[in-house]
Every structure is written in C-alpha cells, then in structure tokens.
C-alpha cells in the first residue's frame, strides 16, 4: 500500500510539473495555429480535462486507500433501503412470501452484482420469520450466486435450516418467457412484497403492472434510466439509477465501492461549486471562467 501511495504521489507531481510547463508554453505560443496531424508530446488544448481527471483520480484512490485502512466513510442511508425493509416487514406481518427479482442480466453487469448484495441482506431479515423468499432467475450463471447470497443471509441470521433451495428458481433464458413465468408466480403465489432490483429492460412494464394489480408492496430499482418511468408510476418506491449501487455499497461496506462513491461525490461537489461560481460570474458578464471548461 505504501509503495502504491509513494508512486501515486510521484506520478501526480510529475503530471503537475508537466502541466504547469505546458500551460506556460501554451500561453506563449497561443496564436500559433496547429494542423491536426502536427504531432506533439502533449495536446495542450486538453489540459483542462487532464487536470480534472487528475483531481478525480487522486480523490477516488485516496478514498479507497482510506476505506481499506478501515477508516469509516460516511454515506447517508438512502430511503430506498428503509422502503425495502418496510416491504419485507409488511410481508412478515401478513405471513406471505417475498418475491425478489434480480433483473435479467448476467453477473458481468454490475447492477446484478449490486442486486446480489442487497439480496443477501434481504435474506438476513427474512430468515427470522418463516416466510418464503422466492427468487426467479433468467441467467443460469446467476443461480449459484443467488443461492450463496441467500444461504449466507440465512446463516448470519442463525437460521441455516430455513433455507429452501427450491425457492431460487431458474426460469428461462428467454426474456418474455421469463417475464410471463414471473407474472404467473405473482398471480398464483400472491407475494406481499415484490422487490425488483437489478438490470431491467422491456419486461419491467409487464412485471410492475402485474405486481401492482396483485396489491403487493413494490420496491424497484435499476440503473437503466429508460425503464425508470414505469417503475416510478407502478411501484411504491423506486431507487433511481446510482442509488442501487449506493445501497449495495452501504450494505457491503466494500472499500473499493465506498471509496469510488466518495470520490465521485467529491467530484460532484466540485461540479456543483463550478456551476455556482460560473453562473454568478456569467451573470455578471465575466467570461473567462466558463472558457476554462471549453474542450476542443
């Protein structure tokens, strides 16, 4: 870790030095027009994006290293997690099952990975009450991961005996056949809570509609922006885009996820700051600040 840190410092300072000299050079040679095929060692028109990336990079790496050292990084508990707990709670009160749909993509989609982390947590809550947790799955590779997540959840709640393997069901690898089968489960087994968290496509509509018509509490979440409208209107609570990843980072506490999240948060704060300062200056008629962001 220390070596990495040192090399990081060296790298960043080297970058800074080159940059400063380049900026100086660029100012001297500003009127010079270059053709596109004129090779040079640093594209001086791109210095602003270079600095921005350098800042974001160092922020992310710094936060990751902090998280790895075990320092606590604060992330707010997003309301979506409470909504999930509430839905599960309702199901336990009613003694009915919970349906957990982890999206339709394979494990190489980070949304599915995030969904598995949340699944493990839901399993932990459910394990204390004797209600079934049904997980229908479209991708064969997701089945073992989901089984493991649920089993771990039950184990950490001290109820490994309550784990029912048959409730983690491989349905069909064809999109609409899968959607039809899950709709069937909703209508037949009438779960009290439907959790739709992961990567969804055109089937989102069919699932959310059927779920709403059975009167179940529905909590959905996906980073596929184009499917969010359907979830927002047909579900009781929706985790929007990034919130899905935040929920999983919050629950798993994995350093690299937490660190990246904090790093991007810092970048967001800087962007917001830039927008505020820039807008004020622009309104007053000062233009140079805006020009810092021009990339050719």
């Amino acid at each position: 870790m220390d070596n990495r840190k040192i090399s990081l410092v060296i790298l960043i300072s080297a970058i800074w030095l080159t940059l400063c000299s380049q900026i100086l050079l660029a100012q001297e040679a500003a009127p010079l027009t270059e053709t596109k095929f004129d090779y040079h060692w640093f594209d001086t028109k791109r210095w602003n994006i270079f600095i921005t990336l350098a800042i974001v990079f160092s922020a992310i790496l710094w936060f990751i290293s902090r998280a790895k050292k075990g320092k606590s990084l604060f992330i707010r508990r997003i309301a979506g997690l409470d909504a999930i707990e509430e839905a599960v709670g309702r199901a336990t009160e009613m003694g009915k099952s919970v349906l957990y749909i982890p999206g339709i993509h394979d494990m190489n989609d980070i949304q599915t990975v995030a969904s598995m982390i949340i699944l493990g947590n839901v399993a932990k809550t459910i394990a204390r009450y004797d209600i079934p947790l049904i997980v229908p799955i479209r991708q064969p590779f997701v089945v073992p991961v989901a089984e493991e997540a649920v089993r771990q959840g039950y184990l950490s709640a001290g109820r490994p005996d309550a784990f029912v393997k048959d409730n983690i069901r491989f349905i069909s690898d064809e999109q609409f056949a899968y959607a039809a089968a899950v709709n069937g489960i909703m209508l037949r087994e009438r779960p009290a809570a439907n959790l739709l968290l992961g990567s969804f496509y055109a089937e989102s509509l069919l699932l959310a509609e059927t779920g709403a018509s059975t009167g179940a509490i529905q909590v959905a979440g996906t980073a596929n922006i184009h499917q969010l409208p359907f979830f927002v209107v047909a579900c009781d609570y929706t985790l929007i885009g990034e919130e899905l990843f935040v929920a999983s980072a919050y629950l798993s506490r994995e350093p690299k996820l937490l660190g990246s999240l904090k790093g991007s948060d810092l970048a967001k704060a800087l962007i917001v700051l830039a927008i505020i300062i820039g807008t004020i200056l622009e309104t007053m008629g000062v233009k140079w600040f805006t020009k810092l962001f021009v990339v050719q």
Partner: protein, 284 residues
C-alpha cells in the same frame, strides 16, 4: 362490486382490443388536410434540415444505420426522407452500420424507395460514385475510433464484397476530416450517444441523429450543448422532417394513427386514475 370496481378489474385483453382499434381504424382513413398542416417542426429538426441545405454539392455525408427491423416503422422514414434530401442536393452518401442488420435496412431504403423515385431517377445515381454501402463491422465504439484515423481500415470491404479502397467515392475520403456530417439513425447501443462521444467530440466531425422515441430524451441534452447539429425523435420527428423537406412519406401517413392511439392511452390513464380515486375514497 359496483361499476368503478368492475372497471378497475377490467381484463387487459379488452384494453388490447381498444388499442388495436385505435391504431388500425385511422389507417384506413386519410387524415384531414388541416391535420397534416399541424405537424410541428421543432427546432432540432429544422436545424438539421438547414444544415444539409447549406452543404455544397459533392460534400460527403455519412449515414450510420444502427437499427434493426423492430424499429423500422419509426426509423426507416427518417432514413428515406434524409437520403432523398441528400441526393436531391447532390451530396455523396456513405452508408455504414454498426448493427448487423443496419446495412440491410440501408439496402431496403435504396431499392424500394430511393431508386424508384422519379426525381431521383433523373439524377442517374451510380453505386460507388454517388453512394456506397460499406456494410457492417463488429466492435461498436471501437469501429468509430478506428474510423477516426482510417475509414477503409475499419471497413475493409463494402456490402457487396468490393474492397473499400477501390471504390471511386472513397478515393478522397481518409477519415472523419473529409466528412461534413454524420447522420446516425439509432435504436439503442451503439447509437447517437456513442457517435457523439467517440466521433463528434473526439474528432470534431458534426453529428446529427435520428432516434427512436425511447432514446430521444436521453440524447436531447446534447442539443443544448451543441454536440448535435439536429435530432429527430420517433414518428413525430420523422413526420416533421418529411414535412420540412416536402415529401409525403410513411411517417406522415402513420401520424394520424399515432395521434389517435396517444389519445387512447391518455384516456386510459385518466380513466384508471379516476376509478382508483373514487374507489379509494370510499374505502376510507
């Protein structure tokens, strides 16, 4: 169970029938002339049209066909009206596809609509000189990046198996520097997003888009930033381009059905909510 509750529990197949009727019946009628006059030409459509209008004859325009049969009703009219506009302006057209079915769509458009058109027949278009179809290449954004340095390396052969370097049109086209506009007709990934990021902002070529309505809102922020020259969205965008370029095509024809079906959906949303609030009010 009273009326409203029955209404709430309506079998969805009944709704299916209503939708089908709302779509099909208007197809049998020609829309009233006043209706077509009211098709709105929004500013992104107009700016694309104006940009093409201003290009000098002989300019090279690239059209990327990044879609497949499902989205044909929306996107094919965009391709046809744009192609017509280009040929009537004597622009040279390079067609490519990052979706395997894309170049076939280009072929369909040429065979069925462009080459049979009277005005365009008079132009006596020649394959290889006035237009080329470079076919499909796998690799998504990396194909775009490769084209930034050498188009013929990214697309070694055309749709018909001829080597790209041997096509007369491609003789003086090296990379994006020689292309005045890339018009990307897209139904998803890779699509306008990738073209803006990896061609427009990277190599400075002008990008315009024709998108499915699903994608349109996601791409629209690029308009305000000027990263897109123009953008057509869905059937409405297609009909607007047909209107602005003075050509009565499929999109205009479908617009009547489209309007009625929208009204039907809005009606259902309002009806559903009405039933929901009335029954909910009673319970509590």
């Amino acid at each position: 169970m009273d009326f409203w509750q029955k209404l709430l529990a309506l079998d969805r197949r009944i709704i299916f029938v209503f939708v089908a009727l709302a779509l099909v019946i208007p197809l049998f009628f020609t829309a009233p002339p006043g209706f077509l006059k009211k098709i709105d030409i929004s500013s992104p459509v107009k700016s694309l049209y104006d940009y093409v209008e201003k290009l000098p004859p002989g300019s090279k325009v690239m059209i990327a066909f990044d879609y497949d049969p499902p989205t044909t009703p929306e996107l094919q009219p965009m391709a046809i009206s744009f192609l017509k506009h280009c040929f009537l302006k004597d622009l040279d057209v390079i067609m490519i596809g990052l979706w395997p079915q894309g170049p076939v769509q280009a072929q369909f458009a040429m065979e069925m609509d462009i080459l049979t058109d009277e005005k365009i027949k008079a132009k006596n278009l020649q394959y290889g000189v006035d237009y080329v179809n470079l076919g499909f290449q796998a690799g998504n954004e990396f194909v775009i990046l490769r084209m930034g340095s050498d188009i013929a390396a990214a697309f070694p052969v055309d749709y018909f198996g001829t080597r790209t370097r041997e096509l007369p049109l491609m003789k003086d086209v090296k990379n994006f520097d020689n292309i005045r506009l890339v018009y990307n007709i897209s139904a998803g990934y890779p699509g306008t997003y990738e073209w803006v990021i990896f061609a427009g902002d990277r190599f400075g070529v002008k990008i315009a888009g024709g998108n499915t309505a699903v994608q349109y809102p996601h791409v629209s922020p690029y308009l305000q930033t000027g990263q897109l020259v123009g953008l057509l969205g869905g059937m409405q965008g297609a009909a607007a381009y047909e209107k602005v370029s003075g050509y009565f095509g499929k999109a205009t024809k479908y617009m009547f059905s489209q309007a009625v079906s929208h009204a039907m959906v809005v009606f259902f949303i309002i009806l559903g909510n009405l039933a929901y609030f009335i029954t909910r009010g009673r319970k509590t």
